[in-house]
Symmetry: C2
Subunit: 248 residues, 2 copies
């Protein structure tokens, strides 16, 4: 028995998110079925965490146990053969048996793309949030800084999560703008349900003078969801990386 | 009567190219129908040139004559309302009556994206040429230089074109690489049918030691199509810009 870790890229546009479910096609299901076709085994695929419908991944991580004798190096190409074109295994590695993609993760990086131009974009339609009005980038930069550090992000979580501890640490937020495209990158030890998208919605509202920075601070202090901004749409979000300790 | 010039972005993935035709859905047709729905007029839309099936545009240019009294500024949003999400009018301007998107064009810029990584990409599947083996970037740089200047590019043209003068001037070729992505940008006074894709195919073969630089030189000198490389796939190609004289 081997424990195989895979790194996965996907275009979430046509999926009902990562996690397998009775209704709707999911990425986890597609990969489990591809592995079944490859090795004949009904494996259980452990992802580092879920992503919502239409959310993309540049590098999602998952692991599974297999008795197959396919060389580890060949796993990526072999699984890809049975996957649709919008899901791709980038790399496969053999890990210690105890490795678990979710429990071992110590952090994640997400990025969010905004298309800031009066007209909508044809090429970015599935990969960005279209904001047709102008944004005050200085205000956004300033507001993003309040999220950095350890805070109770309860106000930045959608309902429907059963998580009890809502403290999270954000190590870094980077904001880049080039012409009509804005990328906001978040790195942290973990993120609550919809946390990145609500932070982005809050930043967009602050940058367009629809919400005060003071209100966002209040959301952090009181945990009131109504003090934070709207949920930015799913299609602008990318899971960029999952971090693991080098040794454990 | 006004002469309206529009700048268009499109994702060519689901189209049979720019030019209207009896079979298959085209971008020109979609825009003409959208304008018909907006103004009630059966206009003729003059594009700067054709693009093939699956080829994209960051900024295609076209013009049409209209008697509508819609303010020029509002044309982009108004036409977009009747267009599918993968075609977007970015800008509309009123031009002198003599302006013609094709006849007035003095140059074009194209870019071509290569995804150079052992595994295929889910996110770039419709926007790049997947090259799984390694490429010698120095060789590619050196080979690209031979195209710059005025040459007879007959050897770099697909059959099916009725063009008589096959001389073209390439002003500049830029090659950029970032991680597993390579962009090759071409700027010139005009391009023959499939010329950019055949130049890219030739550069890829040279970069992977499948074709000698001398062969490519011969293709330029003799006009022999068989001396040049293969036709790189359509989905990696983007029409980036069409150039017009500031005054005429």
């Amino acid at each position: 028995m081997r424990n195989i870790m895979i790194k996965i890229e996907y275009d979430g546009t046509n999926y009902n998110g990562w996690q397998i479910q009775p209704n709707g096609i999911t990425i986890q299901e597609k990969i489990m079925k591809a592995i079944k076709r490859l090795t004949g085994e009904n494996i259980n695929l452990h992802g580092s965490g879920r992503t919502d419908a239409k959310v993309h991944a540049r590098e999602q991580v998952a692991n599974f146990y297999t008795n197959s004798n396919i060389p580890t190096k060949r796993f990526a190409v072999a699984i890809n053969h049975f996957l649709p074109q919008d899901i791709a295994i980038m790399e496969a590695n053999e890990m210690p048996m105890e490795f678990h993609a979710r429990y071992w993760a110590i952090g994640k990086a997400y990025s969010y793309q905004i298309h800031n131009f009066p007209q909508r974009s044809a090429l970015l339609r599935n990969y960005s949030y279209h904001i047709p009005y102008s944004l005050d980038m200085e205000k956004i930069e300033k507001a993003a800084a309040i999220f950095i550090g350890t805070h109770d992000f309860k106000g930045f979580m959608s309902s429907g999560s059963s998580v009890k501890n809502t403290n999270r640490t954000i190590h870094d937020i980077k904001i880049e703008k080039e012409k009509d495209r804005i990328w906001i990158t978040f790195e942290g030890n973990g993120f609550l349900y919809n946390m990145v998208r609500i932070m982005v919605g809050t930043l967009v509202e602050i940058g367009s003078n629809k919400r005060d920075l003071a209100k966002a601070r209040e959301a952090l202090e009181t945990g009131g969801r109504n003090k934070a901004g709207h949920l930015a749409p799913a299609q602008g979000l990318f899971l960029d990386k999952v971090f693991y300790p080098l040794t454990r």
